[in-house]
Symmetry: C2
């Protein structure tokens, strides 16, 4: 029997550098790898999402739509894939349906093939319109299950959610583990459950981060259970808060009944490319290598570092432990939402507020909205006491309808506002950029003509840094210093 083919989604162009280098990689540092990526034999190439879009206009003075068209041109044989936050699109609020339609249409037109649609609360109503819009373009709509651990999350529940996504027209299902919580046995059970319930021909993709160090094993068990494709990142931008290395996946499957069909020579070239690029972004690197405590705290690595900076900014850096203990309580009060953008930020910020000002003395606007149903349904009931506080503070009523049903049409007003901005080029793409990031887009439009502004280190900076480090390691260094015409010799060493 010939081995079963396992598809691979390469993450290096999106989630890889998002997780390891704070999403700072410039397009110029990607283009040289595109031909090899295009030829390596991946099932798809993830290359676009909310954070890369944001980073383009906020830090890199790059037009994200130009980046997408660049990928399309350089990788003509590949399925390009993006991560889409359902009704939130790439932003942090719900958009009215016609904006959703427009965004999907334009993304498809600019070259996107596979839309991985998720909702932070796993509320199918928040994914329906986007998936429907994808179907209309003839592109691939992937329905997503955000994986988390709580007393209410069960294999049966995840299998049921997969069924709802299939009913809504999902062409494949993604089991998305954004916090490296997926252990081998649940990975096996969920994939098997979906296949047994809805048919062995349902395409299942599995996405894991590697922080806990166990998720490559989870991918193995998911594959044994029937998973059809898995997400990895080329080894030189892998591991830690990132993902399992693509080459390790290939090696893992050798001799088993499965194979990726990837071209190892291409993979090694891609690896070498990003190995050379990575040091240029060292200033943005996360230090975490492996951390299994997240399996207990369930606080994703990125969320933890955010909490730490928030606390430090308020002069309360010593409260990290207290906040970490508060997070699960807030999560429970909010009905056990998975912690992923934006719920991770909302729950995290409220935990900080609770620790600094007392439990629920002050709610953030977003947390109040979450409690009142304005982000959608949660798996568990939300704490009635806190709902009452949210009502009192915001003078808003709790809702149970699909949140976007309450939004008035907004496309025309977005066009009007965007068109007024200096540097706006009048395209629908620019309207969407403005719609996604209304506070950042205006500045970007003004400076767009100046062209990309990389935040990577230059070769000279890298060299100087290496020397400084070497100097610090080797102990006493003598300098010749000339001052006022006289030469002095100065010896410097660590005190």
């Amino acid at each position: 029997m010939s081995p079963r083919k396992i598809g691979v989604t390469e993450l290096v162009l999106r989630d890889g550098h998002q997780s390891l280098l704070a999403t700072r990689m410039a397009t110029e540092d990607m283009v040289a790898a595109c031909e090899d990526i295009d030829q390596a034999g991946y099932w798809s190439v993830e290359c676009w999402g909310g954070a890369t879009f944001d980073s383009c206009i906020r830090f890199l003075n790059e037009d994200p739509w130009v980046r997408l068209r660049t990928f399309r041109e350089l990788m003509p044989n590949s399925r390009l894939q993006m991560l889409l936050r359902g009704q939130n699109l790439l932003g942090y609020r719900h958009y009215e349906d016609t904006v959703v339609d427009k965004f999907v249409e334009k993304s498809a037109e600019n070259g996107m093939d596979v839309f991985r649609v998720f909702d932070a609360l796993n509320d199918p109503r928040n994914m329906a319109r986007a998936m429907n819009a994808v179907a209309k373009t003839g592109k691939h709509a992937q329905g997503t299950i955000c994986y988390t651990i709580s007393p209410l999350h069960t294999t049966e529940g995840y299998v049921r959610l997969a069924g709802q996504l299939l009913d809504m027209g999902a062409q494949s299902i993604c089991l998305k583990d954004m916090a490296a919580l997926l252990q081998p046995q649940p990975a096996y059970d969920i994939v098997r459950g979906i296949k047994e319930t809805y048919g062995e021909d349902i395409h299942i993709a599995v996405h894991c981060h590697s922080t806990s160090g166990v998720t490559l094993v989870a991918l193995m068990k998911a594959i044994e259970a029937g998973a059809d494709s898995v997400d990895t990142a080329i080894s030189s931008l892998s591991l830690g808060p990132g993902h399992n290395p693509t080459e390790s996946l290939v090696a893992m499957l050798e001799g088993t009944g499965y194979e990726t069909g990837l071209d190892m020579d291409r993979l090694l070239k891609i690896r070498d490319h990003f190995a050379a690029i990575r040091p240029k972004y060292a200033a943005f690197e996360s230090a975490v290598l492996v951390d299994t405590e997240i399996l207990r705290t369930q606080i994703p690595g990125g969320m933890l570092s955010n909490l730490e900076s928030q606390l430090k900014a308020q002069g309360a850096g010593d409260k990290v432990k207290e906040v970490m203990d508060e997070v699960p309580l807030v999560k429970a009060a909010a009905g056990h939402p998975p912690l992923v953008t934006p719920s991770s930020q909302i729950v995290g910020t409220q935990a900080v507020f609770n620790v600094l000002m007392g439990p629920y003395k002050r709610l953030s606007g977003e947390f109040a909205d979450l409690m009142l149903g304005y982000y959608g349904e949660t798996i568990g009931p939300r704490d009635p006491e806190v709902i009452k506080i949210a009502q009192e503070q915001t003078k808003k009523e709790p809702i149970t309808v699909r949140p976007a049903d309450l939004l008035p049409p907004e496309w025309d007003s977005l066009v009007e506002e965007a068109t007024k901005l200096e540097g706006n080029d009048g395209s629908d793409e620019d309207v969407l950029t403005f719609a996604m990031f209304p506070t950042v887009a205006p500045g970007f439009f003004q400076t767009r003509d100046e062209g990309p502004r990389s935040v990577a280190k230059t070769e000279a900076q890298l060299k100087a840094e290496k020397e400084a480090q070497a100097g610090a390691v080797t102990g006493p260094i003598k300098y010749k210093v000339s001052l006022g015409g006289r030469a002095h010799t100065v010896q410097v060493e660590p005190a």
Copy 2:
């Protein structure tokens, strides 16, 4: 059915820092973790071996026997484990049998419990005497299979070797993957083969490095095949050329039919301890994070870095690629020995000679001995042409007997020589230290009284280095410099 218990051997005190920090960790940086290690519930604690012994007397001015007794005292509830190179003991040559007996006896007396006995060529005759000596002390003799990949190495062959080790009295079998070559399927097949051939109650331990990124999956498959214990290192000294993280193993097994029984609170304390220690040894760190090319080249990471330094020392740093291509040819000519101390050094050095001087123009003395059978039998036939060159160059005849059979008794002369050395304390332990490292021991005996000399960085050095690094990143810095009573402003930036 209650989960099957999987034993864990913690590697941090030996192979962990050997693989990641060039074996430089001082005893003083280990003692504070010993109580937690002792109480965590490990099957055994690996804490002694050739490289740690060598490093103690060569770099740290520590008596390795004192280190062993320290461990014995601080971990009264644990099985202490060591790695023993069969007839080579902890050195690089074959010792005569009475020296083997004496070494094992003294190690047991000083506190060793489990002796993992291996031979670089997998020649059982080179392990027999040591295993017999262990049995006499009543301690645990573990027979070892060195895992490698070659056209001649098969699952059946490894299973057969396990049988030979069991016949020689092995109380357990270790499948030892020193180069991170063990992939999931062979791991499963070999463990299953041994169990099915010799009985399910044969204790099998599996040792893997993690360089290739796939060996945690190999451990999972080995456990599914029936492995009884596995080797891991606490997460803060894990991964890369080191080992899979202990905590990840625990997490991996949750919910499966297996469990380690380890105390996670203890593990986190051990983790925090070594997380604080590791930066002090940063100068000795290997940079490799993950590398799957070793599956093709089969050159262990440590061997590669040795080759690079050898070539650089000869001004031939540009020949690395050529030497890497030569290694498999030399390995094949030598009958496909696994590459592990000392065969990795011997094959590597000969590959360098071949590239720099032409194929087999000059043989190293050790390589000639290997070709002539003086290290034992190899799995495949050795190249007759090269054997002839070895004979001509050394005027020695090829042998087929057990190499140690040709050695005359040597204990008395070792005692005599050792006793003459300044600083020798007259103990059998000192004779053995001298026997293992005859060129290093004399210097160590002289300076032993001065006490341990750590090569770790001090807190002050770490701080200075951090500042230097931060300075290098942020670009131009202005300093106020006062000299001869006059103040100057000096701007410094990378050139």
